[in-house]
């Protein structure tokens, strides 16, 4: 379609619109600069060795330690539990909706997922402390009010619609000829679904899992409300922990003075999260394209 412009004013308009698009690059650069600048200041006072080798994280205490691993452990436990809930359940629901359910059931179930995906995370956080933790108490009587299991489960339920939608998209892209070939060879519906369609959509499923992981890493409200504020170098889910995001929330809500090393610590943690989610997002795009069905 030809580039037909009437005069200088319209060319200026194009430039303005281009700026809107390039804003995304600018914003990303701004995020990187804002985070890394304070990070550099932090590492001017704390050595890298201490950051990566110390086993305690107590920047707000009298005796200050800056080992990052307790926070990482907290994030790892909650994230693992949430993925253990979201990926199997989400994939099964997606398989059911895309390959198995009659149209009527589909139309009744999809709104359910949409409602779940529209609920703000703060409501899930409230749900974790008001419903899930008491229920868990029935199974684990000694579980503390703040624990990683409750937060992880609720995070998983929150991410379930995301996984289900992405996997369903991946399944619908699989060419119908695959399924028909499988039927022609005598396989039943279930066998076709499990051994032909799902493996064919493996790229999309992996990309969905990576995106869910990225989402879980960055989740703040549920873990801040439900998981606790005790950084712990352990992988026991039945304890209070602190995740990377919860630490950031804890510091910004308090009255740590700006410019202090405690305040700079949140930017270091933020940089970690930024790089982590960035890598995962790029990886998921790359995998989706590498294993795309329409090549």
């Amino acid at each position: 379609m030809g580039r037909v412009f009437h005069g200088a004013r319209e060319r200026l308009g194009v430039v303005a619109l281009a700026c809107c698009a390039w804003l995304s690059v600018g914003v990303t650069a701004a995020i990187a600069i804002a985070l890394f600048q304070e990070t550099i200041l932090f590492f001017g006072q704390v050595s890298y060795l201490q950051f990566f080798l110390d086993t305690e994280w107590t920047p707000l205490f009298w005796d200050k330690h800056y080992g990052i691993w307790p926070l990482v452990c907290g994030t790892v436990i909650t994230t693992t539990i949430s993925l253990a809930v979201a990926i199997p359940a989400g994939t099964i629901i997606a398989l059911f909706l895309a390959e198995w359910a009659p149209r009527v059931v589909r139309m009744m179930v999809k709104p359910l997922l949409e409602i779940l995906s529209g609920i703000p995370t703060i409501v899930f956080g409230y749900f974790a402390v008001s419903v899930v933790t008491p229920v868990l108490r029935a199974f684990f009587p000694s579980i503390p009010g703040f624990n990683a299991l409750s937060a992880g489960i609720v995070m998983g339920i929150m991410m379930l619609p995301l996984v289900a939608t992405l996997v369903e998209d991946a399944l619908t892209v699989v060419p119908q000829s695959y399924r028909e070939a499988s039927y022609a060879l005598g396989a039943g519906r279930f066998t076709t679904m499990i051994r032909v369609t799902l493996p064919a959509a493996a790229g999309g499923v992996t990309a969905a899992a990576i995106l869910a992981l990225s989402r879980a890493l960055g989740e703040t409200m549920i873990v801040t409300i439900a998981a606790g504020q005790q950084p712990r170098l352990s992988l026991n889910p039945l304890q209070a922990v602190e995740t990377l995001t919860a630490f950031i929330a804890q510091v910004v809500m308090g009255d740590t003075p700006y410019g202090s090393i405690e305040h700079q610590a949140i930017f270091v943690v933020g940089s970690l999260l930024f790089l982590g989610t960035l890598t995962l997002n790029v990886a998921s795009i790359w995998i989706r394209e590498r294993f795309a069905m329409d090549r």
Binding site: M1, R3, V4, F5, H6, V14, L17, A18, C20, A21, S24, V27, T28, I31, A34, Q37, A89, G90, I92, I93, L95, V109, L112, L113, I115, L116, G118, I119, P120, T121, I122, V123, Y126, F127, S130, V131, I157, L160, G188, F190, T191, I194, L211, G218, T220, M221, T224, I225, T245, I248, A249, V252, F267, G270, F274, L278, L280, N281, V282, I285
Partner: protein, 285 residues
């Protein structure tokens, strides 16, 4: 042999059906338990006093008026900023940019922004808007931060809306002698408007529910006044909910539940509006 085969298939199929049923049960049970708990805990608090009251040390006197007002202010200003920028970017990417390396890079940047955790936007907003720009912890700083959060979503949905406009409309316009920009302004955007509006509503839903960015920005949690302008301190509904959840008194937990009901009701209204817009645009086609 055939018998064995059939049993094996049925076994797997049964397992799948049970697993699917359990997964659905999880979703339904979650929604049901959530609804029940909210109604039981917070239903009693909903009323005129709750909706028009301000912060108070006594849970029974506290209300959500500053939070509601703050939510409206921040959301409104954020959308005023984000919508033109987002639609502009979408127009550029869909209509004016040549497909190739450049557009691909831009798409990757936008998609990355969509995946950045919300709290990081808050921290960046703290650094850039509150500190470097000296705006302080005000409505305008919060609105600009939320505009950043919602920008990728607006771009994504607007692009889909623009892409859905039939090619013939553009070609007819050009054939009649209009320029590219005239075609975009007078034909493409009006045709894509329902989709863009739906995207705007989705953006509003997103902003209304987000707590983490404004938490990092320093939205206050004890306010006795509603915002009077862009330079006012502010709080929003999710922040107020979070604050009440964090208090030990059970009265505040009831307030939190009631405030959540208000929040969910707002989201419900918005979603119904979006559905109506979509339905009307499809019926008029």
């Amino acid at each position: 042999m055939k018998q064995k085969e059939r049993v094996h298939l049925n076994g797997g199929e049964m397992l799948f059906r049970v697993a699917a049923a359990l997964s659905f049960l999880l979703c339904i049970a979650t929604l049901g338990a959530m609804a029940a708990d909210l109604v039981v805990s917070g239903g009693g608090r909903i009323g005129w006093q709750f909706l028009t009251g301000v912060s108070s040390r006594l849970p029974d006197r506290a209300g959500v008026l500053p939070a509601l007002a703050g939510t409206v202010w921040v959301t409104g200003v954020a959308m005023i900023v984000a919508l033109p920028l987002g639609v502009g970017a979408a127009v550029y990417l869909e209509e004016l940019c040549r497909r190739g390396r450049l557009s691909r890079i831009l798409e990757i940047f936008i998609s990355n922004l969509a995946g950045v955790p919300a709290i990081l936007f808050g921290m960046v907003g703290l650094q850039i808007f509150v500190r470097w720009c000296g705006l302080g912890r005000t409505v305008i700083a919060g609105a600009l931060t939320m505009a950043l959060v919602v920008l990728p979503l607006i771009i994504l949905v607007s692009r889909e809306a623009i892409r859905a406009v039939p090619r013939d409309i553009r070609e007819a316009s050009l054939a009649l002698g209009a320029s590219k920009m005239q075609t975009i302004w007078y034909q493409v955007i009006p045709a894509a408007l329902p989709g863009i509006l739906t995207g705007a509503i989705l953006g509003v839903c997103r902003i209304i529910g987000e707590a983490a960015p404004l938490l990092a920005l320093g939205a206050l949690t004890y306010l006795t006044k509603t915002p009077t302008g862009l330079n006012s301190p502010f709080t929003t509904l999710p922040i107020q909910i979070f604050n009440w959840i964090s208090r030990p008194q059970i009265g505040f937990h009831r307030n939190a539940a009631a405030a959540i009901i208000v929040l969910l009701f707002l989201l419900f209204l918005l979603n119904v509006t979006a559905i109506i817009i979509r339905a009307r645009s499809q019926s008029s086609r």
